[in-house]
Symmetry: C2
Subunit: 475 residues, 2 copies
């Protein structure tokens, strides 16, 4: 069991290869014959289902309702908001033929659905009494990317997009912030990923937004991943799509909008933060299967004991299953390991005689032998919590180790040439400086934070700084 999985390249040797090896070995996704698109295989889709379940429940608790807008957007509808169309036009796919006929107007496959929601609001929002409207949809979107990688960047991906409309800027801004807090909670508490939150620069914000809040995580190799964004639109889209309502003073007013989204790329983040050379590692709270019970041998008493343990765990909301396939125990151990099942329980006939039970932790790969008389539910719950916390703490340590400070371009360059990571540096607010920094290995501003300035001088031009910014190379 201590041999490294031969299918998997070492993470420290070739991170990119290691990543795709994990995707393949854990059967999360596969390339398809459709260029730039992937097949999300059952193991990968089960993680997405768990993400959906947890986020959907949270969204609904906060008053959001799900709906479904069309997949296609007529070109004229897309074109109404100038910045949006400029931002997305180069990367949409166009339907030009329906059945056997050429279409009069081409239709794009939604890259995002602000325009469709605006079109809907336009005929459904009349008065402040209709507001707020808090919508979300789970769906597929398509962006014509050229370089693709499973989960991180593919032409089609799955996501949720929340769209809300309000009677005041205050309410809409609160919603924008609230949903960013939800993403932060989800990353920290469920995915065990210590993300940072902040505001995108003008250059990096969503096309058409007043501002964009972002959730940024750092991968094992020091590359940053934008993993959830929340946009405040003010009245910009409402003006473009003529979404007006009668306010309390009986005056017409443009409505205030937000949108926010997370995608299947969170699966990529899980891999790149927690997994190792032995395969996938999943934090227990997001694992579709938390416990695998492996009977050693075919002894009837052993099988009964395994069944009893499974039943007890399931009754206590711990997702357990028995691997009772015909494979050898060693093969089952290896499979559970590569698939990232947080805890493996082993019981054999001799264990029953000696009143022993073995727990194997996926995170530390440690085996723990306990007496069979322990309270199995309490023990397992505590063990799962400990694994969750351990993964989070390890990720925090790694992130902190890869977090740097730069006061001038030379320092920034040295850091990026040695080991990429989050780089704290002050910035004057000028896009020219941002572009100059980007010349160093494509380093971009990740977000503007509320943290205090370091030197008060821009890391690039040395002039007075306006913002404390975190920079990094991104996926």
């Amino acid at each position: 069991m201590d041999k490294k999985n031969k299918m998997i390249t070492s993470r420290d040797d070739d991170f990119a290869k290691w990543y795709t090896d994990i995707v393949k070995a854990a059967k999360l996704a596969d390339y398809s014959s459709v260029k730039g698109c992937i097949v999300i295989e059952p193991n990968g889709y089960a993680i997405w289902e768990r993400m959906q379940e947890i986020l959907d429940k949270k969204f609904k608790q906060l008053g959001h309702v799900n709906c479904q807008m069309p997949l296609l957007i007529p070109e004229n509808m897309l074109k109404k908001e100038g910045e949006l169309v400029e931002g997305f036009a180069p990367e949409v796919a166009w339907v030009t033929q329906g059945g056997e006929k050429e279409l009069d107007e081409r239709l794009c496959i939604r890259p995002t659905s602000e325009t469709l929601f605006c079109d809907y609001y336009q005929s459904h929002v009349k008065s402040y009494r209709d507001l707020p409207k808090l919508y979300n949809q789970w769906c597929n979107v398509l962006r014509w990317e050229h370089e693709t990688r499973p989960f991180l960047r593919s032409r089609e991906f799955l996501w949720q997009e929340g769209h809300t409309i309000h009677a005041s800027s205050k309410e809409a801004e609160e919603e924008t912030k609230q949903m960013m807090d939800v993403y932060r909670w989800f990353f920290h508490e469920i995915l065990a990923i210590p993300s940072i939150n902040g505001r995108k620069t003008e250059k990096e914000k969503f096309a058409g937004a007043e501002y964009t809040l972002t959730n940024e995580a750092l991968m094992y190799n020091g590359v940053a991943l934008q993993a959830g964004t929340s946009h405040y639109f003010g009245q910009k889209f409402a003006e473009a799509y003529d979404v007006k309502f009668m306010n309390k003073d009986n005056k017409e007013e443009y409505a205030y909008q937000t949108s926010w989204g997370t995608t299947t790329r969170m699966i990529g983040a899980l891999i790149m933060v927690h997994s190792d050379d032995y395969g996938l590692v999943l934090p227990p709270r997001i694992a579709p299967k938390q416990i695998v019970i492996i009977p050693i041998g075919n002894d009837e008493k052993v099988i009964d004991k395994c069944e009893n343990i499974k039943k007890e765990l399931l009754e206590n909301n711990i997702i357990a299953y028995i691997d009772n396939t015909e494979k050898s125990p060693g093969f089952k151990f290896a499979e559970a390991e590569v698939n990232g099942i947080p805890v493996r329980i082993e019981i054999g006939a001799r264990d029953l005689e000696n009143s022993k039970i073995t727990f194997a932790r996926r995170d530390t790969r440690e085996k723990i032998i306990e007496d069979l008389s322990i309270d199995i539910v309490k023990y397992t719950k505590e063990l799962l919590d400990e694994i969750q916390n351990n993964l989070y703490n390890k990720a925090v340590q790694r992130r902190d180790k890869l977090t740097f400070t730069a006061t001038n371009l030379k320092e920034m360059e040295d850091i990026l040439n040695t080991q990429p990571g989050f780089i704290h540096a002050d910035w004057c607010g000028d896009t020219d400086c941002e572009l100059k920094i980007k010349e160093i290995k494509g380093c971009k501003s990740r977000c503007i934070t509320d943290e205090a300035l370091i030197t008060g001088k821009c890391v690039c031009c040395g002039n007075d700084a306006k913002h404390h910014v975190i920079w990094g190379i991104q996926y």
Copy 2:
């Protein structure tokens, strides 16, 4: 409360108009600016979520796992199976531009995903040990329809498509039948719709299938709706896509396939079987909200009582909510009625004094006053079951009333001219006769059943009959 909803045309006056009025009044869906596509609004989407929840659980209990194939299919991949491409080519939408470039090969938006699954199987199925594979996906598909109606027929719709592959025809045929039984169970037990099951004729089967099993329901107006199909492909697709496996005798063999699907059109069936001139009527087992509690007045004790009842019901898995908006009780009653909430509970200050509670049934529109001391959970459970059964029985009666027998074309014509319905008639098996029958108001074979022949002679040509067939006009 006894006034008919003014937004809703009478069902007996104009069924088509009544249908779209219900869709609109109950806020299930709305037309979008995208031709032939609809917006599924929160009330409609919540029904779909409930359908997904129940079916998905059942699929998983039977060993199926969810996955996600790409949205787009390259033209060459689609073309490999001749019958399939002939069946679908006239009704697909083609993407010809990606980003700013013309594509070398056009891609169609999936009308169904057999080809994509075959492409996947081809590289993942090697040995009988890999089989069976039991997949399902929840997704959107697109067919370039010309006449569209919300839920019944729209260019884009949501569905689940199961795709399985087996090492023997026996296993694959058992799967085909099993999934048809699941749909039958879902229709009868959950949707309270007494569907009939049978086999499609050669002319009506799925393009490329060996045979198609179908679930056919009869709407209030006597028009039939195909509401779920299960296809057995034998080795046809496996041959076209070269899906081979090594069997137990160590010989190469083409694999055996099935697929099966249901769609958002089931929401249309729910409307057309159960609803009335007062709005939507939902069977309790599919209703996203089963009980609405309406406090009369603002008395604190009344609100507390309502909260306690809600809590008790929710703890016992009865989906209850309180309408505590600022609308008048009368408005709330009307809204609950048009939205099809199965049971409305009303409590006011005077009721508390007199120890009374009022239940209003949506199905019969009856008000029942009970003593507040009743066991509310037990009472509500029984009432919901009674409503479920009542709706089912009413649907059976209606279906039976609209089920006819014909022994010759004249009889068939008379029935169809008076009142469409299910028509039992024998058939020789000849497509010419099927086409001749279709000339009568577009009447088609719904399915071949196992029932005994009636006269032994074909209803059309009078020659010896091979099958007992149920005929009808369809949506």
